[in-house]
Amino acid sequence: MSELPKARVATASLAGCFGCHMAILDIDERLIELMKLVDVDRSPLTDKKRFTERCDIGIIEGGCCNEENVHVLHDFRRNCDVLIALGQCAIMGGLPAMRNAIMHSDAPLRECLDEAYITGKYIRNTTHNVPNDPALPLLLDEVYPCSQVVEIDYQIPGCAPSGDIIFDTLLKLLTGKFRGFEGDMIRFD
């Protein structure tokens, strides 16, 4: 196996909870086996903030809730051959997309921020302001699943996906044997 050139993998967490990255760690000791096959480029796991070279696989956790998410996702699409949406938020928008339900309002984003920072019943915000530091990326009008912003090649479902399904899928992709998921792999009840 060591004769094969190693694949380069990058990962990013957008509007997610980092649970999917934790799930990557759930691969446990098989990580050693996986690391024989891949080098990790840009990723929170390596703390590299930029691509050092073009990658074979990009793994995205979370959907897009702000402009920086879109920027990162564009960057991944341009620098990765294969892009994988990992987990429900990346695939469908997930929990953050609950704010998309504010649809019968003239200013849904304003309404969302007001409730989150000012009018919400259990809010303790002594400044009574919505945070607006210039360093904060601008929010999008709604939360978008990754596939609405760029083309996504594969989706690994789950919240979070199990370490098993991540390991299994990556291994099969790397060896060119991926033919879709087994039924019991994507059964959640």
């Binding site: 699409r77 607006n132 210039p134 009008d141 978008y144 609405q148 912003v149 083309e151």
Partner: protein, 626 residues
């Protein structure tokens, strides 16, 4: 039913938001219908007509009178588009929004009404005098653009005639007076003909040619039910509403079901955009229709019948009531028909209230039962357990008319016309880009090209056969035949010239299905919205080639998982154009650059945040300097 117009003159204006309805009035309406919950649609229509809306307090009172819960009443009231929970104008103008009307210039007519009446589309004037709105096809595509003003129909509108009409209404004239200033003196039939031309272009041998009075019924009364079934079966008659079930077998199934009562229902809810054949039969051959229903009742053992008339055809209701009354007088309806002691049958008219899905027989039965017009799960089929759980024969207007003629002239006569598997004649309602839109009664088996030659539409680039739920074909398919086995149709033929945008037509038809889905099955309620959005991507040039696969996949899911004909046919505009006009789709889609979607527009996505934060984007505003 003609109240409320006086209100337009400002003399009387009952209005449910301003003053509460006086005690007893709602209860009176309910008791007119025996406080029967199965007559809910009639009750609500009358309340709507009289008070221009069905207010929450009113619904409580109707619920109390009919022994229902408030939410059951509201379920019905909110389902039908001609019923309104908020006050409508005393004069409500509904412009037909069909694609044919759009191409005929309905938008200009709308702006005239908006200008003269001072009301924008979808709104009601502050004084409650006028409402202006769009409604799907009202069955006047041969004389588009058309509009309903309350129950009065105006056709062939132009900006000039619309201005005259609007000014007359504004001056306090009744809608009837726009049609004719001698409207009151006209007979019900003359009124119908004053409003709408029937445009009968070609009369065939069976329906629109000379028809002897009651010949079929007289013969039927001499026959046993078994003989009637055999005659109808031998004739090869199949249902003319679209599905094409063998009529004789349907009647036989219903009759063989042992039950206390049987019912006969006529489906005159032709809502398929582009269809208006039943309109012509109801006006030109109402006696033949009732005769056919009476024969069906005789054969199936029914004592009661219902004529379900679509809400858009309210203008002919008085005429049809007159026909029924006349037949009762002549002992052709009622007790002991034509002296036969054991045969009694009568018919009531059930008005619809603007719901396309009620043309589906299960939904139609639900609607007759006073429920929201939602289809029923099959089986049981209506012939086994239909209206109120009793065996019910539901047939299209045209089918009943054919049946009456078959009983007159015999099965062999009818069977000899048309082609194998598609016997007899069919009414085709032709509209769109052709010289002679109107009704053509032809034997089955003509090619599309032959029909186009007849209607003066040989220039056509595309023809929609069977309305939106049918198929759209191009020039290379004009040799195909109008039969059940090749191009099956309920009768709607819409002709489009080469100047029309196929995707615009498909987009319109999808918006029609989005509007008319009853919402029960999620794949139909949600899936059609997604399909229309995807078509929007093709129209705006943002589609990717893989969106074609998406359209096919999603269509297959909707067809597979919907329980009634609406969902099973709603993807047809897309599927048939994908098949017959593939270049339209390939020419309007391209792979996205660098895998980044064109459909996602970052500038509009961050615009509201930019305004809230009062700053520009570091990342996406190129001229950012600070």
């Amino acid at each position: 039913m003609d109240n409320g117009y006086t209100a337009a003159n400002g003399k009387r204006g009952p209005s449910c938001d301003v003053s509460p309805v006086p005690d007893g009035e709602i209860e009176d309406i309910c008791s007119t219908y025996g406080n029967d919950k199965h007559r809910m649609l009639d009750i609500l229509r009358e309340v709507q007509d009289r008070y221009r809306c069905i207010a929450p307090a009113t619904m409580d009172r109707i619920a109390a009178a009919t022994d229902l819960t408030r939410i059951e009443v509201e379920g019905v009231a909110s389902f039908y588009s001609f019923l309104s929970l908020t006050p409508k104008g005393r004069v409500t103008i509904r412009l037909c929004d069909d694609i044919v009307d759009r191409y005929a210039g309905v938008a200009d007519v709308v702006s005239v009404f908006e200008e003269v009446l001072g009301v924008s589309l979808g709104e009601t004037t502050a004084d409650g005098a006028f409402s202006l709105e769009y409604t799907p096809c009202i069955g006047m595509c041969d004389q588009a653009p058309a509009a309903m003003v309350n129950d009065v129909v105006l056709t062939k509108l132009t900006p000039e005639s619309a201005r005259q009409a609007a000014e007359a209404l504004k001056a306090g004239q009744t809608p009837e007076m726009i049609v004719s200033n001698r409207f009151d003196e006209l007979s019900p039939r003359e009124r119908v003909l004053a409003m709408v031309d029937n445009n009968t272009r070609h009369a065939g041998e069976v329906l629109l040619g000379p028809v002897p009075e009651e010949a079929g019924l007289t013969n039927a009364l001499k026959m046993t039910p078994a003989q009637i079934f055999t005659t109808i079966e031998d004739s090869g008659l199949r249902g003319c509403g679209g599905a094409g079930f063998t009529t004789g077998r349907k009647w036989r199934f219903a009759a063989s079901e042992r039950a206390e009562k049987h019912f006969v229902i006529c489906n005159a809810d032709e809502g398929e955009p582009g269809t208006f054949k039943d309109r012509v039969l109801l006006t030109e051959r109402p006696h033949l229709l009732i005769e056919g229903m009476t024969i069906a009742a005789r054969a199936a053992g029914a004592r009661e019948g219902i004529l379900y008339l679509r809400g858009e055809y309210a203008y002919m209701r008085a005429y049809l009531e007159q026909v029924l009354e006349e037949r009762r007088r002549r002992n052709l309806l009622g007790e002991a028909i034509l002296g036969q002691k054991n045969f009694s049958f009568d018919i009531r008219i059930q008005m619809g209230a603007g719901a396309y899905v009620c043309g589906e027989e299960g939904a139609l039965i639900s609607s007759c039962e006073g429920l929201p017009g939602e289809p029923k799960t099959r089986p049981p089929f209506p012939v086994n357990r239909g209206y109120l759980g009793y065996p019910t024969v539901v047939n299209n207007v045209e089918t009943f008319c054919h049946a009456a003629r078959i009983l007159d002239r015999g099965a062999a006569w009818f069977n000899a016309m048309g082609m194998e598997g598609s016997h007899g004649t069919k009414l085709f309602s032709v509209c769109g880009d052709c010289l002679n839109p109107g009704i053509y009664e032809l034997p089955y088996g003509h090619t599309v090209r032959e029909l186009l030659a007849m209607v003066g539409g040989l220039e056509a680039a595309a023809v929609q056969i069977g309305g939106p739920s049918g198929v759209m074909i191009g020039r290379d398919s004009f040799h195909r035949r109008l039969t059940f086995d090749d191009l099956a149709t309920g009768g709607a033929i819409i002709v489009f010239s080469g100047e029309r945008n196929i995707l615009e037509i498909v987009d319109y038809y999808m918006s029609f299905f989005v509007h008319e889905s009853c919402g029960y099955c999620t794949p139909c309620r949600v899936g059609n919205v997604f399909l229309q959005k995807a078509i929007g991507k093709f129209r705006s040039g943002h589609a990717n080639p893989e969106d074609i696969e998406y359209l096919k996949d999603l269509s297959a899911t909707i067809i597979e998982t919907s329980r009634c004909g609406l969902g099973m046919t709603s993807p047809n505009p897309i599927l048939s154009t994908l098949l017959n006009f593939p270049l339209v789709y390939s020419a309007t889609s391209r792979p996205s650059k660098d895998g980044i979607r064109d459909t996602f527009d970052i500038q509009s996505a961050i615009d509201s945040a930019r305004k809230i934060a009062k700053r520009r984007s570091y990342i996406f505003d190129k001229d950012f300097t600070q």
